[in-house]
Structure formats: C-alpha cells, structure tokens
Chain length 231, copies 2
DNA sequence: CGCTGTGAATGTATTCACAGCG
DNA sequence: CGCTGTGAATACATTCACAGCG
C-alpha cells in the first residue's frame, strides 16, 4: 500500500506508478506544470496570429526566463529552429501531445456538493478534453437525478458504471470521510487517476496516480506571507 | 511592475513582497504548505484524544518522513521534548500562529460564477478563519443581490467597499479577461493578498502576495503521467 | 548573426546521521 | 534510552554560458 510520499498538499503526489514510460525524460513535476502554462500562452499567441515565438518572448509571457523554457522543452525533444525560434502552432501541438491532451478523457465526478457542482459546470474541463461521463454520490436524494445531463449513480454501482462508460479519471469532491472509500472502490474498478479535493491524505494501491488540491492551503499560504511580513 | 517570476501555475507565485518579516526563517514554500497539512492532522489527533505525538508518527500520517517534519518545525523554533515528542494541542496552536491563522481574515470574492458560488459556500474557509465580507461583480443582473448574506457590489465601488469593510484578501474567480483589472483595482484599494483562479498570469505592483490555482493543470498532471506510462 | 539546445555551475529542498537533552 | 534539533551530505531544480546549427 503506497502512501504517496513525495509531493503533497495542495499540488502533488504523483503516485509512483511509473510503468516504463514512452519518454526517457527526466522532466521534473514543476517542469511539466509549466508546460501546461506554455500551452495556454501558445493558444493566445496562435489566436493573435503569431507564427513564431522565441524562448525569450515566451518567457516574458509566462513570467519565467528563457533558459527555463528551453530546458523544459528539451526534456521532450527539440522543437525550435536556431536563429528564429519556435513555430507557434507546431509547438502548441507538440505540448498538447506531451501532456496527453491530444485525445479526450472520460472522467467521473464523486460527490455532488457545492464544489462538485461547480466543477461539473467548469467549462475549462471540457475545453481541454475532459468529459464528465459519470457522477457518484451516496445521498438518496441525489441518486437518479440528472445533473448537466449525467445521471447520478449510487457509489455501490461504481464497478458496473466505470466499466460500462469507460471511466479513466475521477475528481473526488466528497466530504473528507468518504474520500478514502471512493478512491478504493474506483481504483478497484479500474480508474487510474484521481484528483482529490478532500483535505486528507488518501492511500492508494497499485499503479494509481493521485494528486491533491486543497483550496484552504492556498489561502493559508497568503496569510503566512502577510502575517510573517507583519501585515 | 513585478510579474511574479518564481513559482507559477497551479500552486504558486509568492510575490516578492518580503518586507522584513518577523521570522528570520528560511522556510521554503513547500515547507510552509506542509505545515498546513500537519495542522489538519494534529486537529484529528487532538479530537481522538492523543496527548503527544512523535515526528515518526506524524510523518506516517502525513505521508512524509520524520526528518522532514523536524526540519520544517525547526525553521520556527523548537516545540518538542527530547525523548517523548510533541504535545499535540500545543504544537497545533503553534502552527496555527505561524500560519497567521490565530485571527480571522476579511476576504472579498470577485466574480460570482459557478466557481465563485461554490467557494462562497465552502465551509472550510470559514472554519479556518476566512470571512467573506464583500462580493464584487460587473454583471448588472447580480449587483445588489445578496448571496450567502453578502450584497454583490459593482467593481467600480471596490475602493469604497474595501476600506469600509476592511478587506484584506481577495479570491479572484472571474473570467480570464477580468482578472488583471480586478487585481489592479483591489490592490490599489489596499488588498494585500490574492488567490487567483483565472488561468492567466496576472501582474502585480508593490508588496502584494499572489498565488494561482489552476484546476485544469492538476488534471493535466494526471493525463501526462498516465499517457507517459502508456495507459 | 540570432537563436536553440545542453553540459556545467549554482541555488534549493530533502534526507542522513548523530550530538545532546529530558 | 528515545526522541528532538540540526549541521553535513545528497538529491533535485534552475540558471548560466557557450558551442553549434539555420
């Protein structure tokens, strides 16, 4: 039973499921996160008609430095042309593929509280290739209802529903007490990746990716900094 | 004009407003994030009646190692007893104070879309000392209405409202296009810390703390890992 | 020339290992 | 003895600086 030791808290904990991957890349986790950022900036550039971009320009837009950009990209190949820079559309497509976003992903939502409902309606998810194809809850009031066109299923049926609809990822927006059970049941049913919003460590078995997002911790980071500075 | 260069993406960007603080501490940002986690675990332990806890036990619960715990704490003082460990209640209180959570904070919410509404209802915020005392939006349909007991004010009035209600922090849950303006106006009005959910880099002026949370990036971290492992 | 791509250098964070106090 | 607190060692991430290609 792995307890995802490394990353933690609000932003991490890539499970150690590192089954011999496609890439030899020693890309760090922060580096991969920046790729997502570069991708968004490249979308903007593409929309604005830019054809090429240098690492210097990209760095300015991303709030980092040119060497960082080049290093991040170099983990995955060499996409630029010396002397001129990177072709915007091409680089964007490459990053999309690196991130695994060149296809759509089937996602379940567990827990339909405030946060769950907001995430359901979150347009960015569908825009970047995530389709919510199943919703789980334990509340009898909610089960059977349709939210955003998806029927709420009882957690007990998850094995069946996951298989039937091909669920690959799950967003866990349940109360703290339920998060562990949800992850256990769904990973047994074959779900390989979890995004957990419940503010507790969740244990995983086998090759499962889990990352935690904790909204309160982010605010606490602010109060620490302000309090520390004596404000 | 600082562009908060360092951290970025989903979990960072502590503005460089490091006005000579109270602590000499070289506590790293990840270290501070872990403190928040330890605090939650200590709450659980306290509730379950534990009087003392060792760094080993705490590490097991937090999914890290004992040395990490001791090092994280040592940045702020020495709170344990050699031979026995840490007194749970006492350590919890110390961490609370370190994080600046030994008082309540006045928070504004900007943008009352899905996400904004979910954050408003998010019980954890109030539980950890954050009171939403103002809401800003630009939509005439929303202005004037009360949500969760707080009237929605037009963004133009923010200077007046911020002063009047003593707003210290702001959660930015607006569309991308509005985030920059919101941060500019509110920081001019005296708000010192921002938690930004809009997936774009926002520039800040002066001693302002800003961190970004990007929900999509977290999912992209999962797809990267799974795609990479060939799944 | 101007830019990328990358080893080498620096800077940060984590872990080790042990001295020292309760 | 058992544990904390912490310098020293290691591992990791970022930045420098320059060789080399278009």
């Amino acid at each position: 039973m792995s307890r995802n030791v490394e990353g933690n808290l609000s932003g991490n904990g890539s499970g150690n499921g590192n089954g011999d991957g496609i890439y030899r890349s020693r890309a760090s986790d922060p580096s991969v996160r920046r790729l997502s950022d570069y991708h968004r900036i490249l979308e903007d550039l593409e929309r604005s008609g830019a054809e090429v971009v240098s690492s210097a320009r990209l760095a300015a837009l991303a709030g980092t430095n040119p060497a960082q950009i080049r290093k991040d990209l170099s983990y995955f190949g060499s996409f630029g042309k010396r002397g001129s820079g990177y072709r915007v559309a091409e680089l964007r497509a490459k990053i999309l593929a690196i991130l695994g976003l060149d296809r759509r992903w089937k996602v379940a939502l567990a827990g339909v509280g405030n946060l769950g409902q907001a995430l359901l309606a979150h347009k960015e998810f569908s825009r970047y290739g995530f389709d919510i194809v199943a919703i789980f809850d334990v509340d009898p009031e909610k089960i059977g209802h349709r939210i955003a066109g998806v029927e709420v299923s009882p957690l007990e049926d998850c094995a069946r529903v996951v298989t039937l609809r091909g669920v690959e990822l799950c967003v866990v927006a349940t109360p703290v007490a339920a998060a562990q059970v949800v992850v256990e049941k769904l990973s047994e049913a074959g779900v390989r990746g979890f995004l957990n919003f419940a503010p507790r460590q969740v244990e995983t078995r086998g090759k499962v990716e889990l990352r935690n997002v904790n909204l309160t911790i982010e605010l606490e980071g602010l109060t620490f900094a302000l309090h520390k500075a004596g404000r």
